[in-house]
Symmetry: C2
Subunit: 132 residues, 2 copies
């Protein structure tokens, strides 16, 4: 079981490196919930999650993971990135189901000015793609 | 070693239950860094951290931890709380030094409206205490 969890984590890192959306399609559960740093209500389902996760990875500059805390099927991956002139830190809180698929994905960002800049950049990019 | 880490975590939960600041004095390292969700620059030192951590616990309503992810000396503690009418989630990312003291404490909050409400409530409370 725990090997299956590790494989999903490896594939996630592979997605971050390649931005190949087909990897997301493989590792996200159909009914994954995505909790964004901006709004309370989660986005439901694989297609919504793929749209958001691919867009946010296009918006971040100088993205890198800086800390990994994991127990069993729960991961806390902390990252550093830039948006416009702002440095930021964030976490991906990832929960896997029994099949090793990502069933819950929650993102938090600090500090507040970088969160605001990220929100503006995300809205612009999603609008360009006709997704907003 | 890992027992020492667990003891610190237990004492942290004891602080959350009792709001007894002397517990913080015991488990924080003298040169702890506190990274707030509001500003990039950390606050340095035990006294600054105690002031902020005691104040924020006074501001949160209906606070409870909902998820704990840990490996060795690193903890990711996710909490739920309310501020004014807003529901929020947050994480405490806690790193312990070799003595089991908290050397780094980072907080992130979502969603954005709750973060803004928390910032306003924190400023008011810190000003009342003459700390801002």
């Amino acid at each position: 079981m725990s090997e299956r969890y590790s494989q999903t984590l490896e594939r996630w890192h592979e997605f971050i490196k390649t931005l190949d959306a087909s990897i997301l399609s493989e590792i996200l559960a159909d009914d994954v919930k995505l909790h964004s740093p901006f709004v309370w209500k989660p986005k439901n389902g694989k297609q919504a999650a793929i749209a958001i996760l691919t867009t946010v990875t296009e918006v971040f500059q100088e993205f890198s993971y800086v800390r990994e805390i994991r127990s069993e099927n729960q991961f806390c991956l902390e990252f550093a990135a830039k948006v416009s002139e702002f440095d930021l830190r964030g976490v991906d809180l990832i929960e896997l189901d029994d099949n090793g698929k990502i069933i819950d994905f929650e993102v938090m960002i600090r500090p507040a000015n970088a969160l605001a800049a990220l929100g503006a950049a995300m809205s612009k990019k999603l609008a360009e793609k006709g997704l907003l």
